[in-house]
Symmetry: C2
Subunit: 301 residues, 2 copies
């Protein structure tokens, strides 16, 4: 990565600020400039000394070898427009959006296609904003790159090395397949979590105070991801509409099957499904994608 | 609790073995006898010196002042029958089942109603068996008692003190209301988790290896509770059928609403729901029912 002297980060929330912190830690020779459309976020990032915070996207990307857009996927087109024409001719542009087909299309419509390498680090917490980031966020997590057919190999290689330097494992994927995979592993889980937390708040027979008190029975697990950024998630569902609706349809069918089994007192169907599901958790733990400690290693009480 | 000299625990899985460990720690003068219908479980509990392990339920409950049935809710009637006629006249019988109406009915059909105090400690992990238990499991968690109208006050008071000694907070509730509350805070979350993990394993477009690899996007959170005991959960859904189906219907309606909003690209509806849901998590953390650490305080990587 000798040819990466300056990195520009547009958007300084959880992911953008984590990238800034990680680069400071593992690639200290790279100059990092940062910009956020929200002035308060920019000011806080400056206080935290996350990067050289500047007052415009043009200033941030001037002379940058790599630009990473870390904004909600619905704001990618606007972010791309704000830097178009201000980039060095060979600057590489990437992003961290959780859906890729729409982002790829947005970027390729506005910027030179040879230098675009969309990316998605599959990592995060339920918290948002520049204070929530931390350098180790990407350690051992996967970062999926979805270059278009016009993207050149050198740009792809540089981005791969960049993410590996930050501790991530890198995979290259077609954007459409990415969107289907993430619909299952991320988008539908979030949609379901948001829904059940909403349902639980609105019941007539059960008070919200009771839902909170007795949440250790399982419900509290869902409240974590349902506390994630509303704007970010609104944008993801609109951007990955097709794959989300497709997977949701399958989930609803499977749920109806279990609903029917409960109604008909068909214990065998329930038992058979419940017996299959623990194997997946074992694999996730074995592959280092979750902790082996019971109850996520929560400190109780 | 001077009148509690001997405790019998029937069933030595996660909850039974945790009670045994907690009693050894905080009430060391109480004699604890234990029995499990599964001989291997009994042998392991003996190895772990969790209690005086005996070879029959009759032997376990002989002279016991308090008997706690720690078996799946579908086995409560059989467990009650196995001790009926063997109890001291004033022995108190309780349980730890996650649904209460059916268990109350089962116990009251078989045993003297004045001495029955059904209970549900809202605590657990995804692990099962005598090795999974630990003494601190009930610290700061709620234990719900659902005595019938015939139960006498002295029995209720003793059980309250017992659970408080183990570190739990105690609430008294009508069994029917308990079942509605727990349908929301525990049973439906488990049903949904089992379903989505099942759906994700069965998709044609996405390989199971991909689901595992990219699970840190949210999916892995659901795999924890979907790794819970299949027998225990089959029984809960059969026992709490009515409240589960009722809540499930509400959840499905709410999910359809969001599905429609995604289809119609109605970002406002999505944003409005997603903005409401983070308040509940804050309350759960404030009330000590979950950790404040991001990502459940998981140790990453």
């Amino acid at each position: 990565m000798d040819n990466l002297r300056k990195l520009a980060i547009i958007g300084l929330g959880l992911i953008g600020s984590s990238i800034a912190r990680a680069v400071r830690e593992v690639l200290p020779n790279i100059l990092v400039s940062g910009y956020d459309t929200d002035e308060a976020v920019g000011a806080r990032a400056a206080e935290l000394e996350l990067a050289k915070i500047v007052n415009s996207p043009e200033e941030a990307v001037a002379d940058a070898d790599l630009v990473i857009l870390c904004v909600p996927v619905g704001s990618m087109a606007a972010a791309a427009k704000s830097i178009a024409g201000k980039l060095k001719p060979d600057a590489i542009v990437s992003d961290v959006g959780s859906s890729k087909s729409s982002v790829s299309a947005d970027l390729e419509r506005i910027l030179p296609a040879t230098r675009i390498v969309p990316a998605h680090p599959v990592a995060g917490t339920e918290n948002s904003g520049p204070d929530a980031g931390f350098a180790a966020l990407f350690h051992g997590r996967w970062c999926i790159l979805t270059p278009g057919s016009a993207a050149d190999g050198e740009a792809l290689l540089m981005l791969r090395k960049f993410w590996e330097a930050l501790g991530a494992k890198v995979e290259v994927m077609d954007p459409k397949h990415h969107d289907m995979v993430l619909a299952v592993t991320s988008h539908i889980p979030h949609l379901i979590a948001f829904t059940i937390v909403g349902t639980a708040s609105d019941l007539e027979q059960v008070a919200q105070s009771e839902v909170i008190k007795y949440s250790a029975g399982g419900f509290r697990d869902f409240t974590r991801i349902a506390a994630s950024s509303p704007v970010m998630w609104r944008d993801i569902f609109l951007a990955n509409r097709e794959a989300v609706l497709d997977t949701l349809q399958r989930f609803s069918e499977d749920l109806s099957l279990l609903q029917r089994a409960i109604r008909l007192q068909d214990g065998e169907t329930l038992f058979n499904l419940f017996s299959r599901t623990s194997a997946i958790r074992r694999s996730i733990v074995q592959q280092g994608q979750d902790t082996a400690a019971p109850d996520f290693g929560r400190v109780q009480g």
